[in-house]
Symmetry: C2
Subunit: 103 residues, 2 copies
């Protein structure tokens, strides 16, 4: 399994500007990419302009295909219009070990 | 490296109730646990009551120690007061592969 985890720091007002693009991106990813196991955008609880990204993919091929989609190009264009002041997004090779909580 | 990733679904109003407890938890974890590499709470961009949890730890020993801390006990007590309607939090053994974005 591949895990993508990280954040992009933007001006807090830009979160609202990015929201429709993020929603389109998440919707297209979840509905058209079967190798996607999790795909989420979230705003940090203590820093409103910190957009957190959480993804899980079946394998590297699924993630590579994701980068080649038109919805990725559209989202990158939207992100390019935001005032980004920092970012850190990394790829991890991961393996599920156990469940802490499930309800 | 150990990655903890998941979410807890609460009534949207409960996010504000949980915020101080989450802040105390994050602060204590980051300042007193050297094995903690990342510790974040975030609210889903499309579902305000979905509290997302993102953690990275040096190893299983660091995560085990985290579960034995008094700030974990205090946070679990706060969480027990929230109206939880679903949850999924899992542990992954992970290894950093590459950086997608860094600024």
């Amino acid at each position: 399994m591949i895990i993508v985890e990280g954040w992009v720091r933007v001006a807090a007002e830009d979160i609202e500007t990015l929201r429709p693009a993020a929603q389109a991106m998440a919707h297209a990813t979840k509905t058209s990419e079967p190798g996607c196991l999790e795909y989420a955008f979230a705003t940090d609880l203590f820093e409103p302009g910190l957009l957190r990204i959480i993804e899980r993919w079946k394998d590297e091929a699924a993630l590579a295909a994701h980068f080649a989609t038109p919805h990725m190009a559209a989202f990158n264009q939207a992100l390019g219009g935001a005032r980004i002041t920092g970012a850190s997004i990394k790829v991890y090779a991961g393996e599920e070990v156990r469940t802490i909580m499930e309800r």
